[in-house]
Symmetry: C2
């Protein structure tokens, strides 16, 4: 039906060849920059291509070369700043390397979902896959997968046998907590991310580690879910606790909620309580007060994951075990101050 409605079907290599008076193979050579084509012939072919409006069919090409020049990306909720930035970095790096990017965005991450997504991409013939797997369940799902396609995980579990690129969450949390301890705070409270998330775990570990190293009490964790609302609720609780003078919040969005709850309760920041976030979203510089936070270079994560993946593809290895940890950067702004005695 569609072939009826369209007047003529789009031209193929043979059509170009006929117009240029050469064989289809010569057209192929021109298209692929093969050196052994006479300049005059090349010109004639290019003219024919232009005249017919010919566009090569990458599907046919992929069938014979067995390379689709497409990379698959599996991610979770690309509406969030972190995943969105990472995927953006991935896409840019891939395109610069001449690859297409096919994206699957999961609403919920579970073993079955990740498995299906990976199968889906494998059927499509992607040359490699990047999985943004920030949750423990997702990271585990990678372990028992068919190993016949190159793959790299972002923010995944370093214990598996898959290459992983991630930001050093523990170090980031350490920087945040050390900063607060250094300002003279007796201890530091923590509003965490959801328990299944590796990033949340890493941040807890870094925070706990510093407190332990200084022999400080480790307060009860206030659990959040990354959303501003959950931060707000945690903030309401913290606002009522006289002993709280410093809070390390696991991401900037929740930190915003905490700041809001503090403002409503009349708790001054950083006057009475210091607050540190995580991510350095573009907004955090303009929170009230501007947020001291830990910057993650998502662009670097994306670029590096593509780098590793392409190396695997070119080496013809299906699975290797490269590790790359991107260091975080601490940004001091106005939400932290020395403890008031």
């Amino acid at each position: 039906m569609s072939s009826i409605s369209r007047g003529r079907r789009s031209p193929v290599m043979a059509d170009v060849a006929k117009v240029a008076g050469v064989s289809h193979q010569t057209v192929s050579r021109v298209l692929n920059d093969h050196p052994n084509v006479r300049a005059e012939t090349r010109t004639r072919v290019l003219a024919a291509i232009d005249q017919l409006g010919y566009r090569r069919n990458l599907v046919a090409r992929a069938l014979v070369t067995r390379h689709s020049r497409t990379l698959g990306v599996v991610s979770f909720d690309t509406t969030l700043y972190g995943p969105a930035s990472t995927v953006y970095g991935i896409e840019q790096a891939a395109r610069e390397a001449g690859y297409f990017v096919s994206i699957v965005s999961l609403r919920t991450i579970d073993r079955a979902g990740v498995h299906d997504a990976l199968d889906y991409l494998a059927e499509q013939g992607v040359d490699g896959i990047v999985v943004v797997a920030p949750q423990r369940s997702a990271a585990r799902a990678l372990a028992d997968l068919p190993a016949d396609v190159p793959m790299v995980a972002v923010e995944g579990d370093h214990a598996g046998d898959v290459s992983v690129v991630s930001v050093d969450q523990v170090e980031g949390a350490r920087l945040a907590t050390e900063h607060l301890i250094g300002l003279g705070h007796e201890t530091v409270w923590h509003v965490s991310g959801p328990s299944d998330w590796l990033e949340a775990e890493g941040r807890i570990a870094g925070w706990r580690g510093v407190l332990a190293a200084h022999g400080r009490a480790v307060p009860e964790i206030l659990p959040g879910d990354w959303s501003p609302r959950s931060g707000y609720q945690a903030g309401q609780r913290l606002a009522q606790m006289e002993e709280v003078t410093a809070v390390f919040v696991a991401n900037d969005q929740m930190a915003l909620g905490v700041l809001r709850a503090f403002a409503e309760a009349g708790v001054e920041v950083p006057g009475r309580v210091s607050v540190v976030g995580f991510d350095d979203v573009p907004e955090s510089e303009f929170f009230s007060p501007p947020l001291t936070t830990v910057r993650q270079d998502f662009g670097a994560v994306g670029r590096n994951s593509i780098g590793i993946l392409l190396r695997q593809i070119e080496a013809g290895q299906d699975r290797s075990r490269e590790r790359l940890v991107v260091p975080p950067l601490f940004k001091v702004r106005a939400s932290t101050a020395p403890v008031r005695r």
Copy 2:
């Protein structure tokens, strides 16, 4: 090389056929749910597929069917909340309909960039394309493109001959401005988006329209670029102007910057100045004060654009001219109040 390192190549239909003792065509029929296959045969084929770990090759399939079941998406800076949410909605809707999504994220939008991206996707053999074209330049680039692949624009120019899905920007701005006028403000100031953006233009038009309808003075526009920083700078200027009592800011991020500047200058919101934003990002409810804003249903935009695109694909029409406008929703929070006399 890669074929050497991998032990055996992955099985194809013929391999499955041999194991199941049928022809490859019967395997194809089983895979495509053709009715005329004996139940017992189907079982045998499925067993063979399972045993060999066979996965069908969608590339070969696309070559013969001339349908890749892949949709292309061209977008601009998917790090921003709006584009990210739209692309997310598109991706979800596409996958539900059984389509893959191949994404091209442009760093800068210009005619050449859009053109290249579209060509790139066309070569890849996508069945249709969604262009998130919020800028005038991008929208114009769509006009002179080869019309041999179904296409729909999101937030594009309604004047072209391409289908468009968008949120009613003018109406959203009208709601915001009417709200402020209704609170007794003599006039409303405006911090705009970058001039090339259609959304920025629509919001200006809506704002200006309401002021004109009420016979109010139209103040000079303070230009922004969507970033919190540009909002902050505009806010610094506004804070020094005694006559300002109401500001309509073209997006929530800039509104955050305005709020910050006001807070620093000691300008009370909504006590002395009322502020309205646009987008309703998840954070805006927790700004200080919580922001009155205009919600855009990006998910609906994404879903609808896929709906229109699939209808075009199935109808075999390359270009049609459907229009769809998604209504905005006004959210009153705490950043606006009656004017103080």
